[in-house]
Symmetry: D2
Subunit: 358 residues, 4 copies
């Protein structure tokens, strides 16, 4: 109801504010007997961490150290809730005092205030991107489920700061600072982002997520179609403004004979559908793309209002990335992991009936 | 879990197959004391009905007569479940016999078979667009809730068959056969669609939905953000392949200073956000756009397989529209109505605490 | 949220008022490929029907004919929602006009009015026992799931009108008008009930439900324990005022050494726990008992108030049973069927992981 | 689905094992702007703590210090999830090594093993009564909601070790070690429990919970009736074997004229219904009673089996209470608080429509 719960069988609750003592997640519904450790989760969490060699990175250095508080016994999940916590260590609250009574354009400041009548203004509070660290941690647990069925989720930067990757070389992704599969495009992205940053501005881009080896049958018509659930999952990430499945927006311009994926005994000839038909996975690669808006925190003066509805000017200083990319890439991956893991378990329910000895 | 339930407080379950005895919906959670009658729902249902003067329309003539079986007493809702039924009268099952063992490309035939191990092949069964009539009926009930807060949902055709409407004249929408707000574009759409249909092919397009007078505060971070819920709602419509909020895909190319909506005491200067910030409505107009894929049923020969995984050719004859547009327009409107009504009630829960005498 | 939905995986929504056009249920989450027909459901529904040779029965004669509107194709479930409808044929609305402005003691009249500000006063509207026919119909579908695991639910009258059955002979149950397993007690029940009825009064009793052959492992700690879910399921039946599991209330008086069920390699020596330990079935017979209050509609004058809060006297004439027993017996059985079927599917989800080929 | 979530609007997830690093709860759906502090919660938590002057108390000394990790800002709730944690400090895991492969009668050992295929055997792991500390903490937050409507939940010991309290003097409750409202009965309880404990045995009892000043209208027919939800809430406490509402089991023996509560303009004359009619609160005091089974850990030799299904004898040494009473009393109170708070918010949703300015 209040919106912090995700999933039906593999259910995740996240909690925590940017500058509170900690953030975390509780997972209810993880199957027992899965291998799980803090190391496994930490590895994924490190991919989201700020800084590294990435240009345009926030200088805030958080170790983002994961701690498992329950649900794991002697290295195995027990079927009971898994409580994950990440302590906030580098939270400089004082640097946010000046934002106490003013609404930053493009942020949730104004709407949180209107909705709740109160807001933790320090670093965005609950609306901070920091909350997504808990999603990444939960996503790492979900991946342990997917591993049992050899399902893998690939996420990468398709476009950044006006530059689009056209060559998709999977091996390249982790070699580039922007998690981009096209090394030449990556150089141009770097240049473009630097120019934008030097003006005190920020940039948007496109992230693509692909599900490899997804079995057919996942997704629950009519409302919990797999594409609908992926759309919700990805759109629930703060900066995302669109979700496309397969050909996405382009499909609007095609004719049926262009867009239909013909079928052979050895599979679909094309994959315009993005691996989903009638809201159910068809066994082909699932392809999603999301548009990521430019980070709203910019060092350029903007018009705004304060909590008394008086006009004001604002320049958002502080430690900010110039783009949500690439840090948002593992977040997109995590949300798709959570979605696919949940639907995998839902389909197991369906298929298991009459085949499982209890 | 099984996917046929939508909403948290205003909860809708739809049921029914294209060629079964009936389709319908049950609404659990409609507030009491709302005016409701079959006439009110029928009016909306008629907008979705096939035929009329629209070019490219299916000749199937269904009266789609709504019947209220419960939850309304002496013209008012009682707070108990509202059961709605629409009888299937023009279902020619025999004309689908030839599709019994073959999978139509672009349809859910293959995936339903893989998921459930059985499918009602008559007219697509549950995956038929016919199911959306139940959504439109439920959406008409949701609108009665929205009326209490003067919220109105506008939906129209933004693009069809390669032609885009550039002039948005609201008065024009209901005058054109395609529910298009640009009369000149509509003429070109008609021509383009006719040419496509004459080749036995079909066309896609874009539908835009706008929420007028939505109060700020709707949407539940972090997972049930209003944009996330709208994305799920709209993507759950069979033919939809993308959902955009505000500037949508374009936002990826903008900088922060271009994309941020500056704020004044009299409102936001621009509306690139599409009326949603941090997952919560900001009081501005909510703007969504969806890409509608071309209808997969075409009279052009395509490669496919049968249930024995043997190759086959298929030409889909029968009564089919050449585009899901315009019939999908009131369906998009209905899904947004359901989403906004549900979130309105969720926000009333929040705001009502301590203010309501029980 | 609004309370008319039951179950997580096997989800049932019931709808309908006593004197509306129909009542019904929609089941979302029934596995595909189960045999199902109107005959199967009708057989169970007939056990709840009024009249028959039972003493104290209401003279209202409803055929209670079930109709399946969706989700079944060629005799098998398809995995899509199953819509069930029972038309109200013998609803004499006029006989309830005099109850329009007055609250019957012991009924939900007063509270429905206070909650919703409106009520369908005809025959109790939604609060009528008639609603339970939809539960029995849904329970018959649930039993088809339980059949696959040879699970059987036995329900019978343990006490009525002050007389308690002490001999439990299963064969006797269906031979007696009160569904009582003790033929001698049944004669005394009949006498006692007749005496009560002749005074214009009504009687309560106790119903016992036993789950035969339930596999261990069902129930989801900590809140969805199997006993907790059974308690909710049974207490949701209008007339039920207590739920006991195993020794129930008596357990309060025992010591640990008396109450603990010792374990041997061949099973538990005793069954004081009623087949549930730590909220999870232990493989032994599950035993529940519920107290059924006397029917509040009596022909004896009672004090009450009207909708204007003025004092009034009331004598409830009309077609009424003198006890909810035995008609409530199949309703208790149905609620346990729904609960066990849902938890069976939940456990299949858990056990199916890693064992099911998708 | 996996059972660790409670509530619809005021949603609580508990997590943690008896001998893991910590236990805790996350609350999603607490309204904003409520006063909340660790002190407020601690006060309630202290009532559940072991030891004190109570006879029969476990010597385990846990400070059970609550920590709020999110959702509260400057002393007020913010509408975001409230994360509560209690660190386990006095967990002697080694003392449980001998229980690794053996199932204690009356405990969840056997069923957890059968359900999950793995169990944290240390102190009962997840099935330990320790989990209920998280419920009490969450219940303290729920009480802050109830305070706004002056609703108060009273819980006390009605019976213990075969002795029943007949005099209900509310002032006495907190003066007695057993939270018993009858000082004379309390002395007899003490004697009876001592005798039982000296034999190495344990005792059960009865807890009563009363809701003071509950407004009419709470409860959601037909499945989420208030009594049904209370039954589930209370039965979800490990040791509870029955739930009664109002006259409860006794109602089975009454006639309608005895059991009906007549109504006057000034309220109900009697309260046999226990404050609930048709599943909805009627404004009268809500009365529930639960039977608490004797603690299964006893120092008397019992027959059992090990994980290899071999026979074994067991004597459960260690730090154990001789009765779940009185420590279970605040747990029962907490579960009723959670239930009433959730239904209060649900009713606010209903009543708030059309009255709330958004």
């Amino acid at each position: 109801m209040a919106g912090n719960v995700f999933g039906e069988i593999f259910k995740v609750v996240t909690w925590g504010e940017s500058h509170g003592p900690a953030i975390g997640a509780v997972i209810d519904g993880c199957p027992p007997l899965l291998q799980l450790s803090e190391e496994i989760i930490q590895k994924d969490l490190d991919k989201r961490k700020p800084g590294g060699g990435q240009p345009g990175a926030t200088p805030r250095k958080e170790p983002d150290k994961i701690q498992i508080l329950s649900g794991v016994f002697e290295g195995l999940t027990t079927g009971t809730p898994i409580s994950l916590v990440i302590w906030n260590q580098d939270a400089k609250s004082k640097s946010y005092e000046h934002l106490k009574d003013i609404f930053r354009p493009g942020h949730g400041d104004y709407t949180y205030f209107k909705k709740y009548g109160i807001r933790d203004y320090r670093g965005g509070g609950r609306s901070s991107g920091r909350e997504t660290a808990a999603r990444v941690a939960a996503g790492a647990v979900a991946q342990q489920i997917l591993n049992a069925y050899n399902i893998n989720i690939l996420a990468f930067t398709r476009a950044l700061a006006g530059v689009t990757a056209t060559k998709i070389d999977i091996e390249t992704i982790n070699r580039t600072p922007f998690l981009c599969p096209d090394s030449e495009a990556c150089i141009l992205m770097e240049e473009s982002l630097r120019a934008i940053r030097e003006k005190g501005d920020s940039a948007g881009g496109i992230v693509e997520v692909r599900v490899k080896n997804c079995p057919p049958g996942l997704g629950e018509p009519v409302f919990d179609k797999l594409d609908a659930e992926l759309a919700r999952a990805l759109m629930s990430i703060g900066a995302v403004k669109s979700v496309e499945i397969g050909r996405g927006v382009e499909a609007a311009k095609l004719t049926g004979s262009q867009n239909n994926d013909e079928i052979t005994p050895y599979g679909f000839i094309t994959n315009n559908s993005g691996g989903i038909l009638g809201g159910i996975s068809n066994g082909d690669e699932i392809v999603c793309r999301v548009a990521v808006k430019p980070i709203p925190s910019i060092s350029i003066k903007q018009k705004t209002i304060n909590t008394k509805n008086e006009p004001a000017d604002i320049i958002v200083y502080g430690r900010h990335d110039s783009s949500a990319i690439p840090r948002i890439v593992p977040v997109c991956q995590a949300m798709v992991r959570l979605t696919i893991a949940d639907h995998l378990l839902r389909q197991i329910t369906l298929k298991g009936f009459n085949k499982i000895e209890l």
